[in-house]
Point group: C4
C-alpha cells in the first residue's frame, strides 16, 4: 500500500465513511430491501470532493471497509486506494451526479425494494395519507423519469425531481427508489422508510378509499419532526 | 449518581420496570412491528405516580434499562435519574395522559405496524370475524380521532375511545395503533395481536365476503379467554 | 419426583414424545405460523392411551421437554408427572377427542397462521390448483363447522371433517387450521404446508382466474407422493 | 469407502460441486423460497458426464457435501459414492434431462416459491415492466406445459421452453419455477430473482395499470447487464 496522498484529516474522514458505508449495507438486508447483490449505499467524504461506494456485484456477506471504493465526484475510482482493483457499483455515475449537483447531500442509496418498485412500475407517486410519511417526507413520494442505467440520465432525473422537494426519496420510473440524505445513514433511513410507506399505503388503498390528511396538518407534522424529534443535535435519527 | 430520592421499595420497582420496558422493545422487532427507531413502550411504576418510557430516536440495538427514561404523570422527566440527559419518546405526552386518566392501565405501546396503519389510513375499524380476535379484544378494534402529535390530543383520543371499551387497542386515524394493558407486557401483547388480526382480516376480506361471528359467541369467547386461558394468576398471557 | 407408574418402555416413549413435541414448536416459529403463545402441538405416546401437549399460555422461548404436559385420552392431566402443575393448552379437549376417535392419528397441531385463517374467516375451502397441494393433501383443504372452544365441539368438527378425507388439514370456520398426522412431526409438516398453499392460492386468485388441475392428475400426484417421495420408510417427510 | 473410480481432477471437481450445491441450499432458505424439505439445487461436474443433487426429503439443517448425491446424465445414482445409499431428489429425472439436452447449462434449481407459483397457477407469464427484470431475464418469464412429476415430461417442458429464450427461468404450469444457469450459483441467483420479480409485478399490477418498458430499452438493459455488470470475469453475479 502506497503512502496516502491525502492529509491525515481527510484520510481519517475517508476511513470513517468506509466503515459507515460498509456497515450500513446491513440495514438494507435487515429490512429486506435487497436480494442477492442488489442495492448500494454511498457516502460523501466531508471536506473533500470524494465519495465512498459499494463495489459492483459483491455479496453482502463480503462487504468490509477496505473493499468499499473511493471515487471522485466524476465517479472515477481513485487509483491506488483500498478496493480500487474492483469495479464500483454500476450506479456510480448516478451517485456522482447527485454529489456534484446537490452539495447539501452527504449520502445516496438505491434499492429495488418490493413495494417502492411496484409503485414505480405504475409510474405513480405515493400519496401522503399517514402521519409517519408526513413526518419523514413532508408529502407524497414523487416519480422520476424513465432513464437508462450507466450514463448521467439517472442522476439527472434524481436531481431534477428532488431539488426543492421536501421528499428525500424518488421512485425512478420502472426502476425503483433512490434516496438522499445529509449523510449515508440518513439516506439509508429514507430507503427504509420509503419501502415502509410504499407497503402500508399499498395495502391501505387495496381495501377501500383512503382518507386524506389536511395539507396544514402535513406541514405541521413535517416541521415538528425535522426540528424536534430525536436527541438534540441529531434530528431525523 | 446521586442518592435516590425514592424509598427502597419504589427504587426496586423502578429498576424492574426499566428492565421490563427495555426488554419488551425486542418483541416489537421480533414481530416486525417497527422499523428504524419507530414505536415505543412504557410501563407504570407500581405504587408511584411514575412511568418509564423509551428515549426518542435511539436505535433498538442500543436500548438498555439505564437509558430508559423515568417520568412523572405529567410526562416530565425526573431530573438526576438514569437516562434523564436524553429526551423521552415524542409520544410521551400521550402516554402520560393515559396514565393520568386510566388508573387501571399499567402499560402503553405505540407502533406503526403495517396492517394496523393501513386500516387507520382508511379510518376503518377492524370487524371481529375470527375467534382469536374475539378472545383477545372482545369485538371490533375501534378507530380514534385524527390528532396532532405533541400535545394532549392523542392521549385524549385514546382515553375517549378505549374507556369502557373491551378492546385494548385503538387505531388513531391516519396514524396507527396505540394499545394499553395491565402492565407493559400486556400492552405489548395487544400490539402484537392487533397487527396479527389487522393483517389476517385484511387478506380475508380482499378475497370475498366475510362470515360474521354471532355476537353471543363473541361474548362467550371473550369471557372465557379473559378468565380461563393461561396459567392461573396469569390470565391473558 | 415419584417413581414412574409406567413400564420402562412406556416411560422411554413418553420421554421421546416430550422431546419431540417441545422441539417441534420451533418449526411453528421458524415458519411464522404463530405469534406470542398461540398455537399448540401434541403427540400420542406409542403403545399407551396417553398424549403429550404444550402448556397453556407459556412463551415459546420457555418450552422444554419437562414442561410439556402428559394427558390421558380424556384430556385429563396425569398427576405427579413432569409439568403437571401447569394447565395444558386450552385446546386440549379438541386434541383428546381426535386421539380417542382417530386411532391412526399420532399428532395434532393447531395454529392461527395468517392465510389459513383468512380462508376460514370466509368459510371457504382452498381449491387444489398447484401440484404441491395435490402431493400433500390430495385435493382441496376442507372447512369444518363453527365451534366454541373448550368442549368437544371442536374435536367433533375435526373428526367429522377429516374422517375418510385425503386432507390432513381442516380449516375450522372463523377460527383456523387444525392438522393431523401419523406423528407430531407429520402434523407439523401439514400445518406448515397448509399455510404455504393458503398463501400461494390466495395470491394466485387475487390476480386472475385459476387454471384447474385435472382430477386424474391430482390422483396420480397424491398417490406417487404418499408412496414414493422421501427416503424409504420415511414417506411424507 | 472404496477407491475412487475417477481421475484425481474429476474427483476434485466432484468435491467442489458437492460443497457448492450443499451450501447453496441455504440461499433458498435465506430468501424464503422453500418450506420444509421442498426445493432442490443441482450442479454439473465440469469435465464429466455427472451432476450432484440434493437427496429427497432431507431437512435443510442436515445438508452437507457428503450427503449430496452423484448421478450420471441419465439420473442414475453412481453406486459406491458418498450419499449413494439415499434416494436423490424426486426431480432428478428433470434435472438430468436438462443436463443431457442443454450442454451450456451447469446448474438447475427448482422451488415452490410463493409468487412464482401463484403466476404458474394461472398459467400466466410475468410481463417485463421493471428494469431489474430486463437486466436479469431480458424480457418476460415464460410458462411451460403442465407435466407430471417423475418421468421426462418436466425436463422436456423446461428444455422446450428455455431453448433459445433469454430467460433462465420457466414457470411450469400449476407447479412452479425451474431455473438454469452456467453453474449452480447462477441458477440459484435466477431462482431468487424470479421470485423477487414475481412478487413485485404481482403487487404492481394489483393496484392499477402497469407502464410497459419499450422493447429497445429492454434489449439495451439486458445487453449491458450480461456484459458489463459485476467484477470482470464474473458477469451476472
Amino acid at each position: 500500500m502506497k503512502r496516502s496522498v491525502f492529509t491525515a484529516e481527510i484520510e481519517a474522514a475517508i476511513q470513517q465513511v468506509r466503515a459507515d458505508v460498509a456497515a450500513l449495507h446491513s440495514e438494507l438486508t435487515r429490512y429486506g430491501l435487497i436480494v442477492w447483490t442488489g442495492g448500494n449505499v454511498s457516502g460523501r467524504v466531508p471536506g473533500a470532493d470524494l465519495f465512498v461506494i459499494k463495489p459492483s456485484g459483491v455479496s453482502y456477506d463480503d462487504l468490509a471497509p477496505d473493499n468499499m471504493i473511493l471515487c471522485d465526484l466524476d465517479g472515477t475510482v481513485i487509483a491506488g486506494t483500498a478496493g480500487s482493483d474492483r469495479s464500483p457499483s454500476s450506479d456510480t455515475a448516478a451517485h456522482a451526479y447527485v454529489y456534484r449537483h446537490m452539495p447539501e447531500v452527504g449520502g445516496v442509496v438505491h434499492t429495488h425494494s418490493t413495494f417502492a418498485v411496484a409503485w414505480a412500475a405504475r409510474n405513480e407517486e405515493i400519496p401522503c395519507v399517514i402521519t409517519a410519511m408526513a413526518d419523514e417526507f413532508g408529502g407524497p413520494i414523487p416519480v422520476g423519469p424513465f432513464a437508462i442505467i450507466g450514463d448521467d440520465s439517472i442522476g439527472r432525473g434524481i436531481v431534477e425531481t428532488l431539488s426543492g422537494h421536501r421528499s428525500r426519496a424518488v421512485l425512478m420510473a420502472n426502476h425503483g427508489p433512490f434516496t438522499i440524505g445529509k449523510d449515508a445513514k440518513d439516506a439509508v433511513k429514507a430507503a427504509v422508510m420509503v419501502e415502509d410507506v410504499a407497503r402500508t399505503v399499498h395495502y391501505a388503498r387495496e381495501a377501500g378509499p383512503l382518507v386524506p390528511i389536511p395539507q396544514q396538518a402535513i406541514d405541521s407534522l413535517f416541521d415538528r419532526y425535522q426540528n424536534v424529534y430525536g436527541q438534540s443535535g441529531d434530528a431525523r435519527r
